[in-house]
């Protein structure tokens, strides 16, 4: 019953206004490539010091949720993920937009984000303490296997072109090694350049590899950016609902994956959406459509990345360990406000925590109307803006966005360099996604591997670290399943095709007889 009071508190006029403003601002920031959720939250933190803690948290939570969702717009409409969480949304979102289904894709992304956000927040409210132990069960070997699992997605993403996919992934892995190593502090592949000593920032890599080739192609070809839908029948909300209902298992599974991956510090929204995309594709009846504009893919990634918001707050609030980078900023804000975090927070500061969680739920619900309206507007304007204006605008944003990561021109230089390389590789048939997967997952895999090895070595049981832990083995099994799934699926498909051919001959013979 106590919770109901907190619910009313969160519903106060001021808090509702803050949640509304936060979601709206978050969506806009998230949609701009390079301006990430972390940045949005960091910029806002000083303003919250003047508010009471619960209101401050509500607005931070709202802007965070909004930004994660907003990343899907640019992923769908421009093939440029606005935040790293939206990488996998480009796989199916952009193909849908290209064939004229942009409005539908945005509506589906909105519904999936709301569902993911709600499930994540509800799990935060009811299951936070037990779920926090999940974060603790994941040690270095589990992170290693999780990253390997993510990398196996390459085999699924590059059907028919496996060699090129693997070469791209290796290129991405090498990119992830550039700079000062976390373990050992070796300086690698910097070629004596100060620009590279900080490594390749993932966001700079994303903007370069996804945005720049799109921009060059836009300039180099005469085709319009997106095919305009033949019937611009508004939100296509009914259709979206129908698709969502067909994918309800997918949506719920992806939300749960998102929440659980969000709990793991250092994994984050990009890993969550990649893992759920992979799972959604594997369990789908028509996996061959994935990557060509399958709505199920968008549902999986968008439900998962918004679920990481609630999931990430679980270790933040229960253990005092931030689950995602924006959580680290929010945790710092709590400290400055003099709030003692840690396991006692739920009991000692229940009013703040529960008001915040209700605020998060309300913010997520507000995302539905705001998102649909803003998304519609974004789609319309992207379609309506002539190429001569669209290209310079996006080009400008890519430079600003990459600069804004660390207030540093080095990242802009890295972004442009990778962009040109990415365009060249694209022409040669190398897709950007395997490269980005290598870049994102390389560090997680490397650190997990070396840490597990060091610990195993100290304990005199290296093999036990990698193969003697149940969670590790389960993740490894999924990885193997995903790796060989295309082979198995085509074998099964071939057998089915054969069988149905036999059936047909039998039928036709029967008919003849």
């Amino acid at each position: 019953m106590d919770k109901f009071i907190y619910f009313l508190e969160a519903l106060s006029f001021a808090n509702l206004g803050l949640a509304f403003a936060g979601v709206l601002a978050g969506i806009v920031i998230g949609a701009l490539p390079g301006l990430s959720a972390t940045m949005a939250v960091a910029v806002l933190v000083p303003f919250t010091f003047t508010m009471n803690p619960a209101s401050g948290l509500i607005v931070l939570g709202a802007i965070y949720t909004g930004a994660i969702y907003g990343g899907s717009y640019s992923a769908i409409l421009v093939n440029a993920p606005g935040t790293p969480s939206a990488i996998a949304t480009t796989f199916d979102g952009f193909p849908m937009a290209k064939r004229g289904d942009g409005a539908l894709a945005v509506s589906i992304a909105t519904l999936a984000s709301v569902i993911g956000g709600l499930i994540g927040a509800l799990m935060l409210m009811f299951l936070a303490p037990p779920l926090a132990t999940v974060a603790l069960a994941f040690g270095p070997p589990e992170y290693f296997w999780l990253a390997i699992f993510g990398l196996t997605l390459i085999s699924a993403l590059s059907v028919g072109n496996l060699i090129k996919g693997l070469i791209g992934a290796c290129f991405g892995l090498i990119l992830s090694m550039i700079g000062v190593a976390v373990i050992g502090a070796d300086v690698r592949f910097t070629f004596g350049s100060q620009t590279l000593i900080g490594g390749i920032d993932i966001v700079a890599g994303l903007i370069g590899l996804y945005c720049i080739p799109v921009l060059i192609d836009l300039v180099a070809t005469k085709d319009p950016h997106l095919k305009v839908a033949s019937d611009s029948s508004g939100f296509r909300l009914g259709e979206s609902f129908a698709i969502l209902m067909r994918n309800k298992v997918n949506a719920i599974r992806s939300s749960v994956i998102g929440t659980v991956v969000g709990i793991l510090p250092g994994a984050g929204g990009s890993v969550a959406s990649l893992v759920s995309y992979s799972e959604s594709r594997r369990s789908s009846k028509n996996p061959e459509n994935y990557g060509k504009g399958e709505p199920g893919g968008i549902i999986a990634t968008e439900a998962a990345n918004n679920a990481t918001v609630g999931g990430g707050f679980i270790p933040t609030l229960v253990l005092g360990i931030p689950g995602t980078p924006p959580d680290a900023v929010i945790l710092g804000a709590l400290l400055v406000q003099g709030i003692k975090i840690g396991p006692q927070l739920f009991t000692s500061q229940g009013s703040i925590v529960y008001t915040f969680i209700f605020g998060l739920l309300i913010g997520t619900l507000l995302m539905l109307p705001i998102g649909l309206v803003v998304g519609r507007y974004a789609y319309k304007s992207i379609v309506a803006i002539p190429k001569a204006a669209l290209v310079p605008t996006i080009a400008f944003l890519t430079v600003i966005g990459s600069f804004a990561i660390h207030n540093n021109l080095h990242d802009s230089a890295v972004m442009l360099g990778l962009g040109v390389i990415g365009w060249g590789l694209n022409r040669a048939g190398f897709a950007p996604s395997p490269i980005v997967l290598g870049l994102v997952l390389g560090q997680i895999a490397e650190q997990g591997f070396v840490q597990a090895y060091l610990i195993g070595n100290a304990q005199g049981n290296i093999l036990g670290q990698f193969f003697g832990r149940p969670i590790s083995l389960a993740i490894a099994a999924f990885a193997i399943l995903t790796l060989f799934y295309p082979l198995a699926a085509s074998a099964i498909g071939a057998r089915r095709a054969k069988k149905s051919a036999v059936d047909q001959t039998v039928e036709s013979r029967d008919a003849n007889a």
């Binding site: 806009v28 920031i29 301006l35 972390t38 949005a40 939250v41 960091a42 910029v43 806002l44 000083p46 303003f47 802007i63 974060a135 603790l136 069960a137 994941f138 040690g139 270095p140 700079g179 000062v180 190593a181 976390v182 373990i183 050992g184 502090a185 300086v187 100060q194 000593i197 900080g198 490594g199 510090p265 250092g266 270790p315 253990l319 360990i321 931030p322 980078p325 680290a328 900023v329 929010i330 710092g332 400290l335 400055v336 003099g338 003692k340 975090i341 840690g342 396991p343 660390h406 207030n407 540093n408 080095h410 560090q443 650190q447 840490q451 060091l454 610990i455 070595n457 100290a458 304990q459």
Partner: protein, 320 residues
Amino acid sequence: MRMKTLLSTAVFAFALSAGVASAQDYPSKPLNYIIPFNAGGESDVAARFQQPYLEEAAGQNVVIQYISGAGGAQAWSQLNGMEADGYTMMGSNLPHIILQPMAQDVGYKTEDITNVYFFQYTPDALLVPADSDFKTLEDFVNYAKENPGAATVAGSATNSANHVAATKLNELAGIQTTYIPFSGTSPSMTALLGGQVQGAFSYSTAALNQGDQVRVLAVAAEERLPALPDTPTFKELGYDMVGGAYRGVAVPSGTPEDVRTKLSDLLGEVNANPEFKKKMEDAGFVVISVPYSEVPAFMEERKAQYDSVAKIMGIETSSN
């Protein structure tokens, strides 16, 4: 929100283009306080604590910005290229600015960083999970003595304050432990709480954040911390270990002497504020006051400390 970013960028540009300041009217416009790490870390939290008091002392706004990357090296290598009028100041951290240039070419040298004030440090703390068999530091040391190399100690990064602390304890206690570097304090704390490692070196601040999930075996401070009254210091237990991550403020090398002194005085005023001190101590920071005039002696003393440890860690002192 974007307005704010634009605004701070504009302020930043304005500060860059402004003329030479004289100490009489300094400060007469907003101060840019650059943190060489991401938002949310100890450096950021400490700067946020300083911000309102510094604004009060200076009578000007203090704008906090972040230039992160390469463990701070990204920002420090750019410091001397920034406008040297006293309106650009940057967080400066030990042992980072001593060990980084010692280990490799990171684009700056320790002497390139003009520190005007050191205002706090977070003492190293050795943590074990609350349910660990190690009840005291002695238990841990004895275990490590009997099983050389078997005790695993997590920490944040290589050649970092945590790494120095682990190496130093090994040396002082005559033990051998395995240091496991993680990409930050959060993953290292997660590994500790999950029992992936047996202990972790972190700071007093992290020890407070984890509350009763962890047992703090000892802290590397001169005296027991007000926030952790029951935790012994390494010194009481017979290990001469006082240290951690020291944080100060540096300015570009061209900043006039009188402006450096004035800035040091302003930061000293903040440190003298009992309210500021209380807030910092509650969060686990130890407030120290090393004004501009005492910085050279302080740096010499810390350098000597890190030199001996660096040799053991295998960092070659560069030939210059």
